[in-house]
Symmetry: C2
Subunit: 225 residues, 2 copies
């Protein structure tokens, strides 16, 4: 039987700092043309979707895919990892924590390269499962971050998040937007951030939205004229 890594194994084996290094290495290999990364595709299932994301990394010598089913009340993720040079299934990996760290690490790599030098404050709008790795990974990538300010519509959740991640609770989302790096990570369908709140040179990282699908984009406000 192939190696099977459960959620608890991934949690124990993969630190936010390692995730950041791994994702940064992926981006570099993608840029060098060593990686073939297929667009995600989806199949409709009852009240949900099945997703498939496949890639081959010829520098790492692996090929594989992540597949999962997502519903309103949860999702189940698994990664299958093959050797790229011989008929071997290297591992099957529960991939909820893995995907959470990958999402946070992608933001952290962006922050490392795009945030203004000397960035010291991080604002987070949204305090769910995906927000946790945003804070952990960005902190791992940028040790200069001294202050994290978080905002959530749910007071209980905000309190808990701040306690666990050493963040300061923001009374309004605007308070979390006045930072060197601002992460929005919420499934809210209403706008949570206004451009006029941002300080010149701030980096904005957008994650989540659109129900169960994630997407990232980076907005860099122009310096004042």
């Amino acid at each position: 039987m192939p190696l099977y890594l459960r959620e608890a194994d991934v949690e124990a084996l993969l630190s936010p700092a390692d995730a950041v290094e791994a994702v940064e290495g992926c981006f570099a290999r993608l840029a060098r043309g060593a990686v073939e990364n297929r667009s995600r595709f989806r199949l409709g299932i009852e009240e949900g979707l099945m997703h498939v994301m496949a890639a081959a990394d010829l520098e790492l010598g692996v090929a594989g895919l992540k597949t999962y089913v997502g519903f309103r009340n949860g999702a189940r993720y698994v990664v299958a990892l093959f050797a790229a040079d011989r008929p071997e299934l290297l591992a099957l990996i529960d991939a909820d924590r893995l995907g959470q760290l990958r999402t946070g690490a992608a933001s952290a790599v962006a922050a490392r390269h795009l945030a203004r030098p000397g960035a010291r404050t991080l604002g987070v709008i949204g305090t769910g499962w995906q927000a946790e790795s945003q804070v952990a990974c960005i902190r791992a990538a940028l040790p200069g971050i001294e202050r994290v300010v978080a905002y959530s519509r749910t007071e209980e959740r905000l309190k808990d998040f701040c306690r666990r991640f050493g963040a300061e609770p923001a009374e309004y989302n605007r308070d979390a937007a006045e930072a060197d790096i601002v992460v929005t990570i919420t499934s809210s369908r209403d706008p949570v951030l206004r451009g006029e709140w941002l300080e010149p040179g701030a980096l904005v990282l957008r994650e989540g939205g659109e129900g169960i699908a994630h997407r990232s984009s980076i907005v860099r406000p122009l310096p004042p004229p």
Copy 2:
């Protein structure tokens, strides 16, 4: 951990007759529009290919995929099967034997519906791994088959195949072509079958070819004018 079925489990649990019923049921659900079956896609890896085939079957209430890496010297296959109505990974399944039976079962379903009534002879050109389930599944689907004639370029392999599957060895491929149902299942790049050898009303099932990829098609010779 999800249920993991190894090759030996599949071998023990899935008979050729059950495979034929399962595949025939799939075809019926496909025809009813209850199944979404995505085209296989491939990624290039070192000296081989990674393949992904995903589908959702809303009548069975499952969704999943088969993925594998294939090289000149072998392949490694795995199936991931999810529930279609809740976030649950039902099983991971080693899928070499499963694919072998699925391929044989597809031929058997075709033979059940397209072979001439009262078909009694089966000719097989090619005696490799995939040929075994062709014979087993077609026999399971058509109990009227009394005689199996097999041809292989490799004498040793032919002898072994005939012993194991109760087939008669053909001296020339033409001898295996004079049957009610003719299966070609070989990686030969040269033609192995001539139309003029076929008897009117014979059913031809073509499998394999093109390196590691399989494809099936059915040729039905016209009755004489």
